[in-house]
């Protein structure tokens, strides 16, 4: 088992004819992902890496039975691309694109409220279930199939953490880069709930960073609902507080956005927190060993 994606996931690439889209289509195909179609308006009939291109997601779904989509289109078209995919019946959309205005995402998220769909990202590296399905831009070879679920707000720091685990022989069930934007489709909380229910996942690794309150919300959920061990690292312990213009950002959560406070909160919830980014793999190993 794994979460959200597996060997049966049939993927559409939106923006397949662009330079990122075509490059990563090749990489995903080489990894073994079932890419069944591409979409670029006006490019119907073309092929990219042997994958047929359609004008609209709806046509592509009808022709291929796709159930997931990955988005590489430029920021100004991305919100519409996400909407198009969901209205064509796609249940899982992974948005790699960065630079989408936050309010556009907030409006989109409100439209999706209560619908049985999953959006990952935007501004994220994607999702991978090792040896089965890679949707996104992460290098495939650093992963190894196993029992640790990974949820991360970062891109390349996730690769670092995964590589440390793989080098120690610790595999992953599914890794999700949830993204770095203020408004995200899938949060730590939703990811933790999915991993809690997945029989293959024995522990979850969270990679957090300064800003926002995602780690605080994760801590609350862990205290109430998560029985499996959780390991975490929070980047930015040495980042100096930035220049600020107003005070409202710090006021909203009623709590601090500093790494130190996030770490303290996670520890209070029983999370194993790695102090050094070079010790993430080690921390996962220790947590798995000390598991009751």
């Amino acid at each position: 088992m794994s979460i959200l994606v597996n060997r049966n996931t049939k993927v559409i690439v939106q923006g397949i004819t662009g330079s990122h889209g075509s490059f990563h289509t090749k990489q995903m195909l080489e990894y073994g992902t079932k890419i069944v179609a591409g979409v670029t308006p006006g490019k119907k009939g073309e092929k990219v890496e042997g994958v047929p291109v359609f004008n609209r997601v709806e046509e592509a779904v009808k022709e291929t039975g796709a159930n997931a989509s990955v988005i590489y289109v430029p920021a100004r078209f991305a919100a519409d691309a996400i909407k198009e995919a969901f209205s064509a019946g796609i249940r899982l959309v992974v948005c790699i694109t960065e630079g989408i205005p936050a309010l556009q995402m907030a409006r989109l998220k409100e439209e999706l409220e209560g619908k049985p769909v999953t959006l990952i990202g935007p501004n994220c590296p994607g999702i991978i279930t090792p040896d089965e399905c890679k949707i996104g831009i992460m290098p495939g070879y650093i992963h190894k199939r196993g029992a640790v679920g990974v949820l991360s707000r970062s891109g390349t720091l996730t690769y670092e953490a995964v590589w440390q685990m793989t080098s120690r022989g610790i595999g992953q069930s599914t890794c999700i880069g949830i993204g770095g934007d203020p408004i995200l489709g899938t949060t730590f909380v939703e990811g933790l709930e999915l991993f809690e229910k997945d029989p293959e996942t024995k522990a979850t690794l969270l990679i957090g960073e300064i800003g926002g309150s995602a780690e605080e919300e994760a801590s609350e959920l862990i205290e109430r609902k998560v029985s499996k061990p959780v390991i975490a690292f929070v980047a930015g312990q040495t980042a100096p507080p930035g220049k600020r213009m107003g005070h409202a950002g710090a006021i909203i959560g009623g709590s601090s956005e500093r790494a130190q406070d996030k770490i303290a909160r996670l520890r209070k919830a029983g999370v194993h927190v790695a102090d050094s980014p070079a010790r993430i793999g080690e921390a996962v190993e220790e947590a798995l060993r000390s598991k009751k």
Binding site: S213, A250, A278
Partner: protein, 388 residues
């Protein structure tokens, strides 16, 4: 992107939010002319910088008469203002806002921000306005009230009125306040702001309400949609290295240490800085080269790092995903040759095309210290600096 107070107040004026009469001035002469035009004796001269805490830093001067306006403008213009929210070198004052003084009988706080966890905009309101709103938040969080609203339909007058009725606010103020707050929400949504703040929102002895200060920050990702706002950008308020970095799609923040860093990805960049510190060193900067790196980008990154005279060693940490290690390696070579790099360079490559990348560096014959792991890279960079 931050707007200046005078720019934000102009937007307030367009939306019907009352502001004090005022004029912006770039020279002491303009300030005197402004004072004359305002036809008032009691004035205030306010430094226009992109940071709060101006009162504490001495950037807001109350004056009486035109001679004092001139003095205050001379004292502020062309200097740098340090406040608790600026860095130690402060921010340049290129403009002052000359305003008519306002008599205050009550101060409120109002802001619209994005509540990330609820994914909706949020009105933050307090009856305890003024300078120490952050203290209020810490000591008596119940004094700060919040309401989230739909990013599609906004916050209407009736909703705000209902929200205010639940407070102890003088019922006479509710009508005018709710009009101002719903306009604030409208500005937030229509301008793609990430912050709109009035602190303080004052009540005059006459009962009239007035936005005494104004802060607006626009979502950088939305600037393309608002060219009229993008044109208000004041690059003089930024570190010139940050501005230069932005031109190349790099994200740079200058710090106080001596190990220059070039990393792909913000999270990994922060983690690399954390590790340098754990190894006993101090990072000179945060630099995220972003996704697709070209040779041009890598060269620009080196050039910007080297404009900092404190830099005694450079640590490059690349975990290739989109970015290919061979391209990065070529970029490093070109930069080292082109810029005549004199400080030690530690490079750690991992990810897409790592073998090719390492091979390129090895064959080049350049003095590049390579590192296999993140920890080794940090330790090597720190020992370079310590042995100097």
């Amino acid at each position: 992107m931050n707007l200046h107070e005078y720019q934000a107040k102009e937007i307030f004026r367009q939306y019907g939010i009352p502001i004090p009469s005022g004029k912006v001035a770039r020279t002491p002469e303009e300030a005197v002319a402004a004072a004359r035009a305002l036809a008032s004796d009691k004035l205030v001269v306010k430094a226009q910088i992109h940071a709060g805490g101006r009162g504490k830093g001495g950037g807001i001067i109350k004056v009486q008469g035109q001679a004092e306006v001139s003095q205050a403008a001379k004292k502020l213009l062309g200097t740098r203002l340090k406040t608790p929210q600026t860095g130690p070198s402060g921010q340049p004052i290129d403009q002052v806002l000359v305003e008519v003084q306002t008599e205050i009988s009550k101060e409120y706080y109002a802001a619209i921000i994005l509540d990330r966890s609820r994914a909706k905009p949020c009105l933050v309101f307090s009856e305890s306005g003024g300078m120490e709103i952050e203290e209020v938040a810490k000591k008596s969080p119940q004094a700060i009230r919040k309401i989230t609203f739909s990013p599609r339909s906004g916050l209407n007058h009736t909703e705000v009125r209902q929200f205010l009725k639940e407070t102890k606010i003088d019922s006479k103020d509710i009508e005018a306040l709710s009009r101002i707050l719903s306009m604030l929400a409208k500005i937030f949504l229509e301008k793609d702001a990430s912050l709109v703040e009035i602190n303080p929102l004052v009540k005059k002895p006459s009962g009239d309400l007035l936005a005494l200060d104004a802060k607006i920050r626009i979502d950088d990702n939305a600037l393309e949609l608002h060219p009229e706002l993008a044109s208000l950008h004041d690059s003089r308020q930024e570190d010139p290295r940050e501005t230069e970095a932005k031109k190349f799609g790099l994200s740079y923040v200058g710090l106080d240490g001596n190990i220059g860093c070039m990393v792909n990805g913000a999270g990994l960049a922060m983690a690399t800085m954390d590790l340098i510190k754990l190894a006993g060193g101090e990072p000179a900067n945060f630099l995220d080269v972003g996704g697709g790196a070209s040779q041009e980008k890598v060269t620009a990154a080196f050039r910007i790092i080297l404009t900092d005279p404190k830099v005694q060693a450079i640590l490059v940490n690349i975990f290739g995903g989109i970015m290919r290690c061979d391209v990065v390696a070529e970029g490093i070579l070109a930069a080292v040759k082109g810029l005549g790099l004199k400080v030690p360079l530690v490079v750690r490559l991992e990810g897409t095309k790592v073998k090719e990348g390492k091979e390129i560096l090895k064959k080049s014959g350049l003095k590049v210290m390579s590192a296999e792991s993140l920890e080794e890279a940090a330790k090597k960079a720190v020992s370079c600096v310590h042995s100097r």
